[in-house]
């Protein structure tokens, strides 16, 4: 089992969700985050004072998938989230030790 963490532009969430659902992904967690990679922030003005905002709002998606699904999901995310400019985001993959369904204590890939 693999955890897919994708940090994407907030405006791409709907497109990515739809693309993932079309590949058969059945569960996801969506978190509002702030952060930056190499993307510069922006400046805001309040009462004549300049504030640099370098933590930019992003969306983080977390999916735990059977290994066989991972590449399809990654391709779907990239297809829907890519704009070609800096700030598109990143995807991280990591191994998951186990998954447990709370409702009936099922374990392993069938719990996904």
């Amino acid at each position: 089992m693999t955890k897919v963490e994708a940090i994407i532009q907030t405006s791409r969430l709907e497109a990515v969700k739809t693309a993932l659902q079309e590949t058969g992904v059945e569960g996801m967690t969506v978190i509002e985050v702030r952060g930056h990679g190499r993307q510069k922030g922006h400046t805001e003005f309040y009462r004549g004072r300049e504030y640099t905002v370098d933590l930019i709002p992003k969306i983080k998606l977390e999916l735990v998938l059977a290994d066989a699904m991972v590449e399809k999901a990654v391709a779907a995310i990239i297809g829907a989230a890519r704009s070609g400019k800096i700030g598109d985001g990143k995807i991280f993959l990591s191994k998951v030790e186990d998954a447990i369904r709370i409702r009936n204590s099922e374990r392993g890939e069938s719990a996904l």
Binding site: E44, F45, Y46, R47, G48, E50, Y51, T52
Partner: protein
């Protein structure tokens, strides 16, 4: 049938005629007109009713104005300031204004009204009206001859409430709640009441309407409200020192949305503040209402233009701040100037206050957190001085000679001396504010301590002072 028609028609017409007769000014008596006593009595009664109708109009407007001015404090000022602070201090900031609504009110009944408006000397009233003794439903002819004295009293109370509320902007996010309450009680008694007495009270040194020695033209409280609070704010900001992390840490407003709503309420409420200061529902109220509105609009343009040019983008916070600056500046001038002068005053105030807030504050490095000095102190001072320039007797014939001829009001009309009187009024406000505030701060600091601990400040005043959170948008349902 015809006769009955004539009879009813005559009766109906006759019932409409007397009001027309009652519009004559001179009282009618049997001796002067040869009318029968019964008719003279009827006409005298009708004259009384006309006077009562006139009073009813004035009283309706004045009670409405009082409500509008209270709304300026709650929620106008509370929202305006509340939105400008960080989220962790929103409630504490709003309750500072609200506390004035309760505290100053009670103080007014016991002491405040009497010290400000009771008979005394040129600087302060006395205790004659302690617990509002003697303030009845009959008019006090010195102050407002057509409305009950209690209406005047409660209208003035709303001014006494909002003035200390303005100061809270200077020490936002770092003053102890208990210390603030103590400070405000003392400030209201020792700074506000004397200033109000000098400008508006019977025998006041600066009272233009009641023959003060240095008649200062201050229609709705440019000096009494804005200069005193604004300058006191600066003193507080300097005495208390900067917020932890200022100016290095970013402390942008947590909700310009709240500030926007508050500012719009201030603009609307200000019609009560300025036009209500006419103390009647007549044409002077109209004049003040109109001048107020055009002044505010011009100031928005002044601030926004200055900001757009300097920073490249017009901000919403700038626009609403501009409006407030214009309203502050037009406050002393409202009942003395026409529309062109009002727009001049507004435009200048917008640009000037932007400069004070954006450049001067940064240059000197004081942490006047919500720009109480930059907008109220500076804007009020500018407005009071411009009033000396632009005041026109054609709008408001406030100065008359012994024969009753109207004298010029301001500089542009030929009365250069008035600018000097304005300076005197402004200078007295500055001195009273500085000295009074310093003494009071020292007293409160030595007894209670003014500032919260650094831990409490970092945690936020909502939690540390009040045990509350402004926004409990929890994940749990």
């Amino acid at each position: 049938m015809g006769m009955r028609l004539v009879f009813w028609l005559t009766l109906v017409l006759a019932s409409f005629c007397p009001p027309l007769l009652a519009q004559t000014a001179a009282p009618i008596s049997p001796a002067t007109t040869g009318l029968a006593p019964a008719d003279a009595a009827r006409i005298a009664k009708l004259e009384q009713q006309v006077a009562e109708a006139h009073s009813a109009g004035d009283n309706a407007w004045m009670l409405t104005s009082a409500a509008l001015v209270l709304m300026m404090t709650g929620p106008g000022l509370a929202l305006f300031y509340g939105g400008l602070v960080r989220k962790k201090n929103v409630l504490a900031t709003m309750v500072q204004s609200f506390a004035m609504m309760a505290l100053v009110t009670i103080l007014w009944a016991f002491l405040g009204y009497s010290l400000a408006f009771g008979p005394g000397n040129s600087f302060i009233g006395g205790l004659h009206n302690w617990l509002l003794h003697g303030v009845s439903l009959q008019p006090d002819p010195d102050y407002a001859p057509t409305i009950p004295a209690q209406t005047y009293m409660v209208y003035q109370l709303m001014f006494a409430i909002i003035t200390p509320g303005l100061i809270t902007g200077a020490f936002a996010e770092r003053m102890k709640f208990s210390a603030m309450l103590a400070f405000m009680i003392l400030w209201s008694i020792f700074v506000y009441d004397p200033m109000a007495h000098m400008v508006w009270g019977k025998g006041g040194l600066l009272n233009a309407a009641l023959g003060g020695k240095f008649p200062c033209l201050d229609f709705a409280g440019g000096t009494v409200v804005h200069v005193t609070s604004g300058v006191s704010a600066l003193v507080c900001a300097l005495y208390l020192g900067k917020r932890v992390g200022y100016p290095r840490d970013a402390m942008p407003p947590h909700s310009v949305v709240l500030s926007f709503i508050g500012a719009c309420m201030l603009w609307v409420g200000w019609f009560g503040f300025n036009a209500g200061s006419a103390l009647s529902a007549g044409s002077l109220a109209t004049s003040a209402f109109v001048a107020t509105h055009f002044g505010a609009a011009a100031a928005v343009i002044g601030w926004v233009a200055a900001e757009w040019i300097r920073n490249g983008k017009p901000t919403v916070l700038g626009a609403i701040s501009g409006a407030v600056a214009g309203l502050v500046a037009i406050t002393p001038a409202a009942g003395f100037v026409g529309v062109p002068a009002a727009m001049c005053i507004g435009l200048l105030a917008g640009a000037f206050c932007f400069w004070m807030v954006a450049k001067v504050k940064a240059k000197f490095g004081y942490d006047d957190s919500l720009d109480a000095f930059g907008v109220h102190g500076a804007g009020g001072t500018l407005g009071a001085l411009l009033t000396g320039i632009f005041a026109a007797s054609v709008i408001n014939p406030i100065f008359k000679d012994a024969q009753g001829n109207v004298l010029p009001s301001g500089l542009l009309e030929g009365n250069a001396r008035q600018l000097l009187n304005q300076f005197v009024g402004v200078a007295i406000a500055w001195v009273l504010a500085i000295v009074g505030t310093l003494v009071i701060l020292k007293v409160v600091d030595l007894t209670i301590g003014l500032r919260v601990s650094e831990e409490d400040e970092v945690q936020g005043l909502d939690l540390s002072q009040h045990g509350e959170e402004g926004y409990a948008f929890d994940v749990t349902a």
